[in-house]
């Protein structure tokens, strides 16, 4: 009986695990160089969802070597008013995307959210063919339940 109680409690603990970065809004505080244009105005991170990989394949390419089925919807607000909405895969507390982006490029994106700290990261790395093409690297600061 105790065993089932433990299982039930463990299951509840797993299901109710909340990620600190859920429902947070982030600002870019520093780009990789002074000459980098500030493109991103805000990053909004939604609640984490558990999505089966078959379903997740409908809205992205998930080539990361991981068993994670946790995904989170992210809005990236850009300076001209455009809002890019897409899912990121949650792996070890970080948010990841990777996908082919035309002309033989392959893009990788990572968000490392940090609440109340400017040490968070928003990174884009573009690989052309088999070599480095470009990168956008930024430090971000996130606030929880802002709006």
């Amino acid at each position: 009986m105790k065993f089932f109680l433990y299982i039930a409690l463990a299951s509840f603990a797993i299901n109710s695990y909340a990620y600190e970065f859920e429902n947070s809004t982030c600002t870019v505080v520093k780009e990789k160089s002074k000459s980098s244009p500030r493109v991103v105005t805000a990053i909004k991170i939604d609640k984490v969802e558990n999505i089966a990989m078959e379903k997740a394949a409908e809205f992205g390419v998930w080539n990361q070597k991981s068993n994670s089925t946790k995904f989170v919807k992210v809005e990236v607000h850009i300076i001209n008013g455009v809002i890019n909405k897409s899912y990121y895969r949650v792996i070890n507390g970080q948010l990841h995307q990777s996908f082919p982006s035309g002309n033989g490029d392959y893009s990788f994106r990572r968000i490392v959210p940090k609440i109340n700290s400017s040490d968070g990261l928003y990174e884009i790395v573009n690989i052309k063919g088999s070599s480095f093409q470009s990168s956008i690297l930024s430090n971000i600061r996130c606030e929880k339940n802002l709006f």
Partner: protein, 127 residues
């Protein structure tokens, strides 16, 4: 009066004669490599010294030689296989001033994810 005129004419004529130019011998560039060390990490925590061949055909990092995929305009792009993924480099090094300057863009992709990235200002010297 005639003497003054002759003097002025001679001064003008001799003054217009060009003096033979002393040709500076071309300085021989006696260096084979460019060594770049971290001056300022604008982003990330890259901390290795990179020694690039003069012709930007390859560079050495942490005791390992890495070939440049493209080497033009004093820059080198390279890819190094590591356990679980790849390291990508884009290095520029300029040594027409001493010390010279350089920039290094770096990304480490492991298991299909960004694991580390850096953008580093380097101090580069001919060696």
């Amino acid at each position: 009066m005639r003497v003054i005129l002759i003097f002025v004419a001679l001064t003008v004529i001799l003054g217009c004669q060009s003096t033979p130019r002393v040709v500076q011998p071309k300085q021989i560039e006696i260096y084979s490599h460019i060594s770049c060390s971290v001056k300022n990490n604008n982003f990330g925590d890259f901390n290795s010294t990179v020694t690039i061949n003069k012709d930007f055909s390859e560079f050495e990092i942490d005791g390992e030689v890495v070939s440049c995929i493209s080497n033009r305009d004093s820059s080198c792009k390279a890819t190094r296989k590591i356990s679980g993924g790849y390291e990508f480099y884009s290095i520029s090094a300029y040594t027409y001033k001493y010390p010279g300057s350089g920039f290094l863009d770096y990304a480490e992709i492991i298991d299909g994810m960004i694991a580390r990235s850096s953008y580093t200002e380097m101090e580069c010297n001919r060696i």
